[in-house]
């Protein structure tokens, strides 16, 4: 394990812990930039999808992992971002470069407003409250048919930036690079939150609301900010989903999507940016993986394709249960352990990361 000898406070404040870490991430970015030249068009499309999911997962991760507020309603903010982006372009004629950040802002304001009543609830009650939000969204989209075109849905126009078109089929490489740039920007903002007083106040609320309050953190306001930023980032992902899918209606943003998002952040590993990406990879690529393995299985068995209704949901459920039972810290937790094993080889001990039970908690003021 690398021991960093810090010689200044900046070592604590900087984006990367040490030079080698920075180089690894630069390498990762270069690899991501080179992907279009390696992957087929289909695979690149899947990677684009993965990146969009990663942005959405980072949005939810900020709320669930960083601030400790579970939400089962984040499909609502995906929907707000998606509809706002397309309507701003179609009704007001705004270009993508304006409508996209505005869509994020609108989703963020919606999140902050909803947070005020919602964050009075805690734990499982908050989850139920936000679940109601997700169910409502479906109906609200249908009710607002004059604006949203209801069940008929809306078409998302191609993204146009300074005369350049970005289309999933027309120029997939460009779209991929655009979304990669947005993803990197969101990662940077997320890191900035983590290393600033704002992120620390989020963590304070997650771990102990009562002492956060005693330190002068305005709990209601900070929760609203967390909800707002989270919803804003999720809204950006929603806008991209609209462009990626091309057509969307109320069904696109159903409750299942909210649940998948929450699954993704839990499976990925709560509280880390890595976790958001790992979780997004599972959720975004699993349906394709299932389809491909089903086809393969069909070929081997010689019976054509096998159709098993509900297979995807069952596999999702099984994966989630397995993680909660065997690796509550998600894929990131497992990855961290494997990395530590090799870094410390042969001195790694199995109980190194065993979680300590704490019996010292006072009654929460709830």
């Amino acid at each position: 394990m690398r021991t960093v000898f810090k010689t200044s406070y900046d070592a604590d404040i900087d984006l990367f812990k040490h030079g080698a870490q920075r180089n690894w991430y630069i390498l990762l970015l270069v690899a991501a930039l080179l992907l279009p030249f390696v992957l087929s068009e289909f695979a690149l499309g899947e990677m684009t999808n993965l990146l969009i999911w990663s942005i959405a997962c980072m949005g939810l991760m900020l709320l669930v992992g960083q601030t400790g507020q579970p939400s089962l309603g984040h499909a609502a903010f995906l929907a707000v971002g998606c509809y706002a982006n397309v309507l701003l372009q179609e009704r007001l004629g705004l270009p993508f470069i304006l409508s996209f950040p505005l869509a994020g802002l609108i989703a963020g304001v919606a999140g902050a407003l909803i947070a005020r009543p919602m964050t009075r609830l805690h734990g499982v009650y908050l989850a139920i409250g936000t679940l109601a939000l997700a169910i409502l969204t479906d109906d609200l989209i249908v009710l607002a048919t004059p604006l949203t075109n209801g069940v008929m849905g809306l078409f998302a126009p191609d993204i146009q930036i300074f005369g350049y078109g970005f289309n999933r089929y027309g120029n997939p490489i460009r779209l991929y690079l655009l979304i990669l740039a947005i993803t990197v920007a969101v990662v940077l903002v997320y890191r900035n939150i983590q290393r600033s007083p704002l992120g620390r106040s989020f963590a304070a609320i997650r771990d102990s609301e009562i002492s956060a309050q005693a330190m002068g953190v305005n709990v209601a306001r900070t929760k609203a900010i967390a909800f707002g930023i989270s919803a804003g980032i999720t809204g950006l992902a929603g806008a991209l989903i609209g462009h990626y899918a091309g057509i969307f209606n109320n069904e696109t943003f159903n409750v299942i999507l909210s649940i998948q998002l929450l699954l993704a952040v839990v499976i990925g590993g709560l509280g880390t940016i890595h976790g958001a990406f790992f979780g997004a990879a599972v959720v975004a690529l699993l349906p394709q993986a299932i389809a491909i393995s089903r086809d393969l299985l069909g070929k081997v068995m010689g019976g054509g394709t096998i159709a098993i209704p509900g297979l995807e949901a069952a596999v999702f459920g099984a994966i989630l249960i397995a993680f909660i039972l065997f690796e509550p810290q998600g894929i990131y937790g497992r990855w961290f352990k494997i990395r530590t094993f090799f870094e410390l080889f042969p001195f790694y001990r199995r109980d190194m990361f065993r979680r300590q039970k704490s019996y010292l908690k006072t009654e929460r003021m709830r």
Partner: protein
């Protein structure tokens, strides 16, 4: 004028009167101890000062102004810091991060500049860390700087919590059982620290503590409570020898028997 004035405060939970017409003043620069058997209302008094509870009657004034119109998160900015009886640290964060949350009162950067992490935010972060450094030096926490709270032993957590309260740079420090569960040496450290907090930093301390040895060695005045009522207020040895205090602790002896001091 006293730094903190508790003026005839009463708090009821349903039919139970947890704090019953308690009045006392804490002068600037003194160490004031609250003692009493379990359920006497000592921690409840702290929670009243922290504005977690609303008194049914009476007034609490800090620096001459009533704090009853303040919300709980507005108490730390006034310069009142506290610790908790059953440690309330941020478990999934490092010692450094915990101490830095204590600096929240001194946060000047706003949300937007933090999202972009402007150079100003960086300068502020350096300033906060320099301030934390003094607390780390004072409490000898260097070895634990980067450690996660979840993995720290009980004694260290107690110290970190005291450090987090000091990071607020308070005028008034409320210590809720700073020595409970600590070893003899650790308790001695706490005694030295409280002494230094008072003399070097000029911070007024109110302390709830059961260890009478610690109380009598560091505190200037002691208030004994029982069943939410004031029993005795005065110098440590006076309170310790007050028959009513002894009765509350040991229980009433036979009606006619004399209470030996």
């Amino acid at each position: 004028m006293s730094l903190l004035e508790i003026d005839n405060v009463t708090l009821r939970f349903g039919g139970v009167t947890a704090v019953n017409q308690v009045s006392f003043n804490v002068e600037e620069g003194e160490v004031f101890a609250l003692v009493g058997p379990n359920g006497a209302g000592k921690s409840t008094l702290f929670n009243l000062i922290s504005r977690i509870y609303n008194p049914a009657e009476g007034d609490i004034r800090f620096d001459g102004k009533s704090i009853l119109d303040k919300a709980p998160h507005e108490i730390a900015p006034l310069g009142i810091a506290r610790t908790f009886q059953n440690i309330e640290l941020f478990e999934q964060a490092t010692v450094m991060q915990n101490l830095l949350v204590g600096r929240h009162r001194h946060r000047k950067s706003n949300m937007w500049s933090e999202l972009l992490f402007t150079p100003y935010v960086r300068t502020e972060e350096r300033r906060h860390r320099a301030a934390i450094e003094k607390v780390i030096d004072f409490l000898d926490l260097q070895a634990y700087r980067e450690k996660y709270i979840a993995g720290l032993p009980y004694g260290v957590r107690k110290v970190v919590e005291m450090g987090r309260a000091l990071a607020i740079e308070p005028r008034l420090l409320l210590l809720d059982e700073p020595a409970s569960g600590l070893s003899v040496e650790e308790t001695q450290d706490v005694a030295f620290w409280v002494e230094d907090i008072k003399k070097q930093m000029g911070i007024t301390v109110i302390m709830v503590e059961h260890d009478m040895h610690l109380v009598s060695s560091v505190s200037d005045r002691v208030l004994a409570l029982a069943d939410g009522k004031m029993l005795s207020l005065g110098k440590p040895h006076e309170v310790q020898n007050d028959p009513r205090v002894i009765e509350a602790y040991i229980g009433a002896s036979d009606q006619n028997a004399e209470v030996s001091a």
